[in-house]
Symmetry: C2
Subunit: 234 residues, 2 copies
């Protein structure tokens, strides 16, 4: 590979994830990892492994909305049975991130209680099994204000900084850059979706070649979630 390039590998062949599944063991079995790899795991398999499934009445069209409201600390907008909420993690998303696709009929997947902790557990498990120093991102699919369509973003991370702060570094003309805080974990989560989306049932991808300067302690809760007090749009 040319220097500076990046590779994204889908990790197919994982079994259906049940409660208490050891995701790290399954991933370590399915793919060879190297130091500085970033392993992206979709929220749904994390939620399944962590037993974050609840029952929902498939015959009640308002059941999802009521469940979403019960998972929210704040409802920002409503349109029909869609609610845009702020979750207790501080994410703003549709229906508190509750998901009915790729789960059994009559069941719904809630978000992990603490996705940064979920990411740390998987990272530690991968380290123990492979000896490799990898980063882990837990991703989910969110809509956005002002733009159509959804993209995958990071809801938890470990071993990688949520935001890489380029303030104070110089641009190509030697002038100081101002306020260029790149949210690399969101870009990586979206990049991973590009290989996951091609085939359904691929909930894990490996991103190889991420700038090592981005690797280190980080969290989505502490870095990426924007507190309401500094948000111009809440």
């Amino acid at each position: 590979m040319p220097p500076g390039s990046l590779t994204i590998l889908p990790v197919p062949g994982l079994p259906e994830i049940e409660r208490a599944a050891d995701l790290a063991a399954m991933i370590a079995e399915a793919v060879e990892l190297f130091d500085d790899d970033v392993v992206v795991v979709t929220q749904k398999v994390v939620s399944k492994a962590e037993g974050r499934m609840v029952e929902i009445d498939p015959g009640d069209p308002a059941a999802k909305r009521r469940l979403a409201e019960s998972e929210a600390v704040r409802v920002l907008r409503r349109r029909g049975d869609l609610v845009i909420t702020e979750t207790r993690h501080g994410y703003v998303c549709a229906n508190s991130g509750i998901d009915l696709s790729n789960v059994a009929e009559g069941r719904a997947a809630l978000l992990p209680e603490d996705p940064d902790r979920s990411a740390r557990r998987i990272r530690d498990g991968l380290r123990a099994r492979t000896g490799r120093r990898v980063a882990v991102i837990v991703s989910d699919t969110f809509g956005r204000a002002w733009r159509r369509g959804v993209v995958d973003v990071a809801i938890g991370c470990a071993g990688i900084r949520g935001i890489v702060d380029l303030r104070g570094s110089l641009d190509a003309l030697g002038r100081q850059l101002v306020a260029t805080e790149m949210c690399l974990v969101d870009e990586i989560a979206g990049a991973a979706e590009l290989v996951m989306g091609k085939a359904s049932g691929v909930p894990v991808a490996v991103v190889r070649g991420v700038d090592p300067a981005a690797l280190g302690d980080g969290s989505v809760a502490g870095e990426v979630v924007r507190p309401c007090s500094e948000d111009l749009f809440r």
Copy 2:
């Protein structure tokens, strides 16, 4: 490369871009392209090539804000000299996308007049020079509501669909997916930034391995820009 994987290559070695520069010729010179490659070009070099540079008083701290307001159709929020605006293209972003980094002192780069058209021109130029059928995305760095940090998104595209609509397709359990309209062009723009950000002065990247189902006619203006009338947050 394993099947289903994706590679992102930075394109270094482009000269400093001047007004009327032939970007397609420069890119074709700098990198070997293949059918179905997606070439991501940052807004700044497109704006420079299209002569979208204006003078700005470097001693006046409010000059950028005034220029941003003159480029806006609507000001959504203000904080000090920062304005969040809606541009005439329909993008919602900081300071109407006006950029003072990596441009000469006393100059500011405006957004291209029609970034979809810019993308089409570059795609057509690459086709003429290389014979390859490639897609082109013009990217820019935008902030987001609710989440800290900035990410690269698509402001124009050609040869690729802005949104890939998975509504009506089936999930892995054979149930119908609802409203999964992925904004692949934004995910690709962000992915490309991961290799551009590592070294300053790399304004172009090639993304190889994008799902061919995403390739075809598309535009950011027609697909990704959310009209104010359907936006819950304007």
